[in-house]
């Protein structure tokens, strides 16, 4: 009898012991993985665009469109040599913006639409963790992913153009020196994180908030207040400050990112990196505060909202 009752109590005891085994970050980690499983466009879209860019570049390199700047790599200005690389990097940033917009608009809506929110909520993952996992996609995952893909894309472009040069009996060394890709990449990473992740964060958090609130037509609900405010401003003051503000946030453009010298994008990498100016800008902190408010509202909404 005694041994039997002892065995009966065993599961209760082992339960108490096994309690603290799971670290606090683990639910967040798995929630982010879940987002990547569910939204394959997060990596499929940039990968396809990068593949397209490499193929397009290869064709043009082989058929001679970029051959002129390649051949005269030692005399032609930096811009002419780097233009396709910068163009491709710019394309990737555009992809990053588009993927972020569509991801955020669906992030808290999709799980309510397919009722899977009932499954997610049946597991010990808090609403805060779930929403943080979702916002980490545009804030953290996409910039890093886009950086890695862009670097790989640049490497392939470089290898293709080197092969073309070698086939023409020229040295590729000058091209490599002139392009100075490590500098470009450093700038790229900085730009991805500051201009395309942190700066537009209030926009992405707004989209998340709307996706957690709207029952349908999330894009419309997200755009409507912006259009309305811009319209009212236009009628009353005949100005476009709000529309411009939203546009600059979204495109990762603002006076604080302005080029101090007259050159285009990554030619003088160090001119762009002015962390002090970025961190010292009130716009950054106001934007982050607004983002935090939107995010807190999104967490509350997820707590209250069920399937639709």
């Amino acid at each position: 009898m005694n041994t039997q009752s002892g065995a009966l109590h065993e599961p209760l005891d082992s339960r108490a012991v096994s309690e603290p085994l799971m670290s606090a970050t683990q639910p967040l980690y798995w929630s982010i993985r879940r987002e990547l499983w569910e939204n394959r466009s997060i990596y499929v879209a940039p990968l396809s665009v990068a593949a397209f860019a490499v193929v397009a570049f290869s064709i043009s390199a082989i058929f001679g469109i970029w051959v002129v700047p390649l051949r005269i790599a030692h005399t032609s200005p930096y811009d002419a040599v780097a233009a396709p690389y910068n163009l491709a990097a710019g394309l990737m940033m555009l992809v990053s913006i588009l993927v972020s917009i569509f991801y955020c608009l669906d992030a808290l809506h999709g799980e309510r639409r397919d009722r899977s929110i009932l499954f997610w909520k049946s597991l010990p993952v808090s609403d805060l963790t779930s929403v943080l996992a979702k916002v980490s996609i545009p804030l953290l995952i996409l910039p890093v992913l886009l950086f890695v893909i862009t670097v790989a894309m640049h490497w392939m472009m470089l290898l293709v153009s080197s092969a073309v040069l070698l086939a023409q009996g020229q040295s590729a060394g000058l091209l490599w020196m002139k392009l100075d890709l490590p500098h470009t990449w450093m700038l790229l990473l900085y730009h991805m994180v500051t201009a395309h992740a942190i700066w537009p964060l209030p926009i992405y958090c707004w989209l998340l908030l709307v996706s957690g609130w709207a029952r349908r037509a999330t894009f419309l609900w997200a755009a409507l207040p912006i259009v309305a405010i811009a319209g009212v401003e236009r009628i009353i003051f005949n100005t476009y400050h709000f529309a411009r503000l939203v546009g600059l946030r979204l495109m990762g453009d603002a006076p604080i990112f302005a080029v101090t010298q007259g050159d285009v994008f990554p030619s003088g990498p160090m001119t762009h990196i002015d962390l002090g100016r970025f961190l010292g800008s009130p716009g950054l902190w106001i934007g982050l505060a607004v983002a935090a408010v939107f995010l807190a509202a999104a967490v509350q909404l997820r707590k209250y909202q069920g399937p639709i």
Binding site: M22, W30, R33, W37, E111, K121, P124, V125
Partner: protein, 287 residues
């Protein structure tokens, strides 16, 4: 130990009262069937218990406040909602990975063991599985969690009879033990009758009947009355009378079995028959 305790639990949606100050107490180790017509408040009650909806009144589930501690609560509580809610894009292997990743009490080997008995492939996506297989998968995930309370809201809806039988069999044989509690709502009353230890009828936000199955069996009696005894049987005030194949069947509450045996064949009613009787009376009373 008390698993669920509610006092004055109330929930309104605008003018509609979904739960009208109900008191509820479910002890550990019970299997409670929550039976009621559509819109009676069953799902609202379960949602409150699971921390999916805010409420008025007091509610403690495994000692926690469900609304403010849902994430902690879900370490001890599992639920399967009324229809398959597993995300359709998810692969079976991903579901295993995810639950193993976020749930400290998930026993992956156990879940794999349950799945091995089915024809579900690890690489399948949920959308490729039949409805019965999705339920099997969900059940395999849930039963591998060492939880204290399992809540099932219409778990067998849309399943064929084989799966339904299998569902309750595996729940009883492979999952239930005296330290767990199960709360189930269903319209398929007849198939849970032998499973339940407690019974609760709920109608228009109120509990209209609450008893253990032992009480149910001793309290309610059904008699198939021989025609010439009908008058005498009716005098004992049955709570319901119905006709089956030209014979009258009378349902009694707290009547003397010995006395009733004189009128005809005596047996324990089905939950479904009692449900119809109780709800029918409420409706005619205009309650």
């Amino acid at each position: 130990m008390t698993c669920i305790e509610a006092r004055g639990l109330r929930k309104t949606y605008g003018q509609t009262v979904a739960l009208d100050s109900i008191d509820l107490r479910v002890e550990e180790g019970r299997i409670l069937g929550l039976i009621g017509p559509n819109g009676a408040g069953k799902t609202t009650a379960l949602n409150a218990i699971l921390g999916l909806t805010p409420y008025e009144g007091e509610l403690k589930v495994v000692g926690r406040d469900p609304w403010n501690e849902r994430d902690h609560l879900m370490r001890d509580v599992c639920f399967i909602a009324d229809v398959a809610v597993l995300p359709r894009w998810m692969r079976v292997s991903q579901a295993l990975d995810y639950v193993a990743g976020v749930h400290p009490r998930f026993d992956r080997a156990k879940a794999e063991g349950f799945l091995a008995k089915t024809s579900i492939s690890r690489s399948s996506r949920v959308r490729e599985l039949s409805k019965g297989m999705v339920t099997q998968l969900h059940l395999a995930l849930i039963m591998a969690i060492d939880a204290r309370l399992l809540v099932l809201d219409e778990p067998t809806l849309g399943l064929d009879i084989l799966y339904r039988k299998q569902f309750y069999d595996s729940l009883l044989n492979d999952y239930f033990d005296r330290s767990r509690t199960i709360v189930v709502t269903t319209h398929q009353v007849e198939e849970v009758q032998h499973v339940l230890t407690d019974l609760m009828f709920i109608d228009r936000g109120r509990i209209v009947l609450s008893c253990s199955m032992e009480e149910f069996e001793s309290r309610y009696v059904e008699v198939m009355v021989v025609p010439d005894q009908l008058g005498a049987a009716r005098a004992l005030k049955p709570i319901q009378e119905r006709q089956v194949f030209g014979r009258s069947i009378l349902l009694f509450d707290k009547a003397d079995r010995q006395q009733l045996a004189a009128f005809g064949e005596v047996r324990t009613p089905s939950i479904a028959d009692l449900f119809v009787a109780v709800m029918g009376n409420r409706q005619s009373e205009g309650a």
